[in-house]
Subunit: 324 residues, 3 copies
């Protein structure tokens, strides 16, 4: 399994089988244990990962770069405005050249309708693995971390109820990639998923259809609702998170206006009380405190957001060690 993954791209978790993902989770758990023990893990000695960021980042950049250091290699932070991409270099040249120098290319590109296409263009010409650090369609590394966290908390994940709920958060239109990757992958691991959003905030139709197909194949429930509380009732896990009405409108002002139409879509103690006793709260961060979630919840005992953030490191190290 491991050798088969060497050289593989990771643009969406949908392209990887359950067995392949289980290999990754097993290695992630071992790397996490190694770090706790202080055991060195020089799996990628003197190897280089290129990280191209079209968008700002804290967790993603630092977890990848730190991960490469812990694996014995080095990650280079690249910003398109400082590269020849700003002089019109195409994806093919970037892919071909970086493939000659280092061992992997990771890209964040969230512009709706552009990001995934750019990743696929680079992947088509790259001779090294291309890793998706979040695009307009998918955020697979986040979802790997989310799943590892859920498994750590519950052991067996089959039959759990996961609520994925839209929340209202101002100032900018957030990508839809997190909820999309969540509804795609979680059913494959046996979780029943309830997705709640106001009508204008639907996800890409082909992704919702794929999520339904994944759930059916796995024998679990996947339902879409327009009532916030449905995501919380009797849930084991909730991930309330804002995203933009990108499928409805590409107009930013209109998008921001629609977000303000539903100010009560906020995770608070009352909503948390609707779930099972052991309900956990997750969020990929950064959360808009006060708007998406009350401090009481995100800083409270049900919140596992820092464990979730930490797991980014471990799953990504496993991903790099397997593919690069």
């Amino acid at each position: 399994m491991e050798s088969k993954l060497r050289g593989s791209h990771f643009i969406t978790e949908q392209d990887w089988t359950i067995e392949e993902l289980e290999t990754l989770f097993a290695l992630a758990a071992d790397l996490k244990a190694a770090r706790a023990e202080g055991r060195p893990t020089p799996l990628l000695p003197a190897k280089t990962l290129y990280m191209i960021f079209f968008d700002a980042s804290t967790r993603t950049r630092n977890s990848f770069e730190t991960g490469m250091t812990q694996l014995g290699g080095h990650a280079i932070y690249l910003s398109p405005d400082r590269m020849q991409i700003s002089h019109g270099e195409n994806a093919r040249d970037t892919a071909k050249v970086l493939s000659r120098y280092g061992e992997g290319i990771a890209i964040r590109h969230c512009a709706f309708g552009e990001g995934n296409a750019y990743l696929r263009a680079v992947a088509a010409d790259a001779e090294v693995p291309v890793i998706n650090m979040q695009c307009d369609v998918y955020h697979p590394c986040q979802i790997l971390a989310d799943y590892l966290t859920i498994r750590e908390k519950f052991g067996n994940t089959r039959g759990l109820k996961l609520g994925v709920a839209w929340t209202s958060a101002p100032n900018y239109v957030r990508p839809v990639s997190v909820p999309q990757s969540l509804i795609l992958m979680m059913p494959r691991f046996g979780l029943n998923v309830t997705l709640a959003y106001p009508p204008e905030f639907r996800l890409m139709p082909e992704i919702e259809a794929q999520a339904k197909a994944n759930a059916k194949a796995a024998g679990v429930r996947f339902e879409i609702t327009h009532r916030f509380e449905d995501a919380f009732e009797d849930a084991d896990v909730v991930i309330p998170k804002s995203w933009g009405p990108l499928v409805t409108t590409r107009n930013t002002a209109e998008g921001l206006r629609l977000i303000e139409k539903y100010p009560t879509w906020r995770c608070d103690r009352e909503r948390m009380a609707l779930g099972k006793k052991h309900l956990i709260y997750m969020h990929p961060l950064p959360a808009d405190r006060g708007r998406e979630v009350t401090d009481e919840v995100i800083d409270g005992p049900q919140s596992v957001v820092y464990d979730e953030a930490e797991n980014r490191l471990h799953v990504q190290k496993a991903l790099m060690a397997l593919t690069m």
Copy 2:
């Protein structure tokens, strides 16, 4: 001593005892010797330091990043405008998340009235050491380097006279952190300190009070004067350096105007001649040549500015090796 320092923050040298600082200087001297000998010093293998810079830097960034490489680890240069801090991430989330990935957080944040508060907020939630790379109140790493330099030049530092003098330098309002950390720490190591500035350029009252208390406890002199030459007369060491009238006015235009009111506060050969024969000239750099100091002095035989800059590397490596 060493094990007690592991995990300690370094926000101000005032929080560290003389014994702890001596441990640091001893290790710094050993690391300096190791570098001269070509002896490897992998004290922080595969470890990561996050460097968050709210302000520009040459010496600080390069000495920390190079230091981590020489210790076997890696330092990541972070700029808030490229991080989710620009999307409103709070200090708590930054602290908690980076603590999960790496082994130390270093911050430069010089905005008057904000920087130190931000460092303390991060330190409150960080599970790894927080290192001050200069804030609005302190610049402890600079002063460690300054002290190591003085000790190297003079051996015993007890009874030496250090003159800390304000100088006039245009274009921007420089922080008060260098003179403040100087007057706080130097008396504790037995130096008599004369601080000279025009009235509008006084330092934070609580810092001046603490400096007086430190001098009293150490049995040395600490005096404040408004005559430039007082800092030079009979001195062993002078550190003439510009800072802004931040305690007097927060208005930048007014601040720049006050700086221009005292153009003769410049270090030149005549002033240097007032000191002892072996008087040395120090400056943390960058100096405004021609305004703060004449080329003749800064490039002359009494200047030890490059030794001083080099010592940033050695003291910071010791600091990281002891705390991280």
Copy 3:
């Protein structure tokens, strides 16, 4: 030879003897083989290279930084706007201070009339090697890679015909450093060089004179022509590449206008057919596809642009390992 090179600057390949350059190419070939074999090459353990970029870069930054990682060290990417250079720090202070921390300083500074002078100013005060990552006059690392590529393709390079041709490319005025370094170095290795450009695009007169002298000393031909096809006829290697009319005018608008005066100076299949059967196409990248060269040529079987880009890595690693 190797020990003599330790500490040497590399501002122009003109300063290095053929024997020194051959030492470099031999090490480059060995490092290339080592990488293919997976053999570690920790020649610069824990050493630091500072890369100061006044201009954008993809290949240069990534090949140097990756190279340092592969040699066991680390390269720091520095941008003057984030350094104290933006606060007026002079070349001397930058040189002196970085020399105290790390083992090499690499600089890209292409501003016409400024770049080379800055490099020489830093070199004058640096106590570590200064490496030219492209200035207004020279791009020696590119030409090292070009020559290694030609040698790999042809074995013996003596008597080959190299055509260096100007091409028309819009939007910005490109430096003259690539053609200048090409005409300087290639004759020394026995290549006959034909340089073709429209009259307004002549190179710096002293560089053309030096190229003639180099050719004469080596007993090969060097000719300048104003007919595009002359560079291709009977050639073994062509390097068609745009540059600005910097010697003719420093006015950008006028420069861009002159570039548009010669739209037919584009490398296409017809021109390639003028060369020898085994003619190869080279370009330092990024190429303006459609304007400088047709996709058919740059993506076709005669193009060796990615091999050429890859060789940047190998020659620069050899350069760093020999000098640092």
